[in-house]
Symmetry: C2
Subunit: 299 residues, 2 copies
């Protein structure tokens, strides 16, 4: 069974499309690697690539792209709205198929090692690959941005995991790590009262005592005259969609409000929805092997 991992590297170039194309070329025409999507934002001056592949060829293609990006991007000249600390700013690896978070972590560490040894790039491991709890949050790592990173790396708490102890003069620092797929999930409430969605968001999100892998906020949908609890579920294996849905429904009772539906924005792993079906149908002894599509694409 083929192992499939996703990678979503972010490059600090979103204006010179010829440069972006040279970077993206690293993901084209390679066995075991498939480019799914890429997009550039001129305001952010940043490009995001979505690519999947088998672990080894995927890592090799990502490392290739790091080399190309370092040749083309000089952060001393980079301006954009999005915070950034590296020519390749961040490289998340995400387990997709026949793999777990450990395989994604291995990819992250291999990429870090190779980028350090081949290009002299300092690398900080983040998220599930972080070498200490305070180093897992990307926003925390990136604080100070490119301009402040030279000083930050001298702090023992922010020492690089791979590569030199100081920034690369033009390419800065790169964060690399494994994370679970993220699901953008919104639950719609039959009320126009934003405070109800905001209150419920607080109850279910990690920050205020709710589910560990749930970020949430209340949002108004003025067109429809309703509100929603807008969420990111950052580990659907541990904070399941149906559990969040039922908890929001339960909290709604306090306000005499109905849940009128929900919505998944963007991509969702099949397993996250299968889990919800299995819960509601009370499926006994169900295995992913029973899904016809899994048999078809097994190898």
């Amino acid at each position: 069974m083929k192992k499939i991992i996703e990678c979503v590297p972010n490059y600090s170039e979103g204006r010179d499309i010829s440069k972006v194309e040279k970077i993206v070329d690293c993901f084209r025409g390679k066995t075991g690697v498939k480019l799914l999507d890429y997009s550039s934002d001129a305001d952010h001056n940043r490009s995001v690539v979505t690519v999947i592949g088998e672990p080894d060829p995927l890592v090799e293609a990502v490392v290739c792209s790091i080399g190309v990006a370092m040749d083309l991007i000089d952060l001393n000249k980079h301006k954009g709205q999005h915070p950034r600390m590296g020519a390749v700013d961040v490289i998340p690896y995400i387990p997709i198929r026949n793999v777990g978070i450990r395989d994604a972590d291995e990819c992250a560490k291999k990429t870090g090692e190779l980028a350090a040894s081949r290009f002299g790039l300092p690398v900080i491991l983040y998220e599930k690959s972080a070498s200490a709890p305070h180093r897992s949050d990307l926003a925390e790592i990136r604080k100070g941005e490119f301009e402040g990173m030279a000083a930050k790396l001298r702090d023992a708490r922010w020492k690089s995991d791979f590569g030199p102890d100081t920034i690369h003069p033009t390419a800065g620092v790169t964060a690399i790590g494994a994370r679970m797929p993220l699901i953008a999930y919104n639950i719609k409430l039959g009320t126009s009262d934003l405070s109800i969605a905001t209150e419920i968001a607080k109850k279910i999100r990690h920050r205020n005592g709710g589910f560990r892998y749930c970020k949430a906020m209340g949002v108004e949908l003025k067109d429809r005259g309703i509100v929603e609890v807008s969420m990111n579920l950052t580990d659907y294996d541990k904070t399941a969609i149906y559990r969040v849905f039922e908890t929001v429904r339960m909290e709604c009772r306090r306000y005499g409000v109905q849940v009128i539906g929900s919505e998944i924005v963007g991509l969702v792993p099949m397993k996250a929805l299968i889990e919800s079906a299995a819960y509601y149908l009370g499926l006994e002894n169900f295995s992913a092997e029973q899904i016809l599509e899994n048999r078809i694409w097994m190898d």
Copy 2:
């Protein structure tokens, strides 16, 4: 996007494994065709192959297997417990991916045409491919078996759809048709009273006024001291899993009995479970394109 169809041909040979292997060889090493499974039953003297593929190469491989089976099997000498009328007894085509029942029907008709023109085999189209309503049920078509088919084909109601007006002297008649994937689904009730499962089965099955694509019966699970409503769902697009589940739950109230779980036996198309998740979560505007796996395997 690749079109994928499943075919589950049944051959009237389950004892001479060297012959079975020669038939199965038609599905090996061919581009666009993948052999998923095959099994032989000596008592039934019958073998069943499960193969998937793109429509054209799949049809070509199935036709190849008809030719091989006709060379190897003489129904005049065939004995077995399972009713049969042809060396290749029945060939169902099932839509799996990026296809509908019409594509499966096209495969069935092409296979019938080719088997008739190449091998002089009479073919009766059945299920969704049937040329008249009374010809859709396989059991009805097969009544009389090989020994009675010569007489039956002379009846205008049972005229062959392709090929000669009479049986092939050694290979009989073959039924070919399109059908939806079948889901074997059981709902467990928290009681040992079989009559409750039997009563509920009657209420939900087509034969007694229930859902059109639901066959059901009550079954006792002695080991667990419970009973179940045991079902075949023959078109999950039109008779959805969750609708059957909720209806059984509703009927259980009359008896003060709980639904304690359910079970899918064997394979299930991903879409059948995604539909259930979408119902329970009240998903708005959800598209199969949002399932990550569908993006990966799109081509």
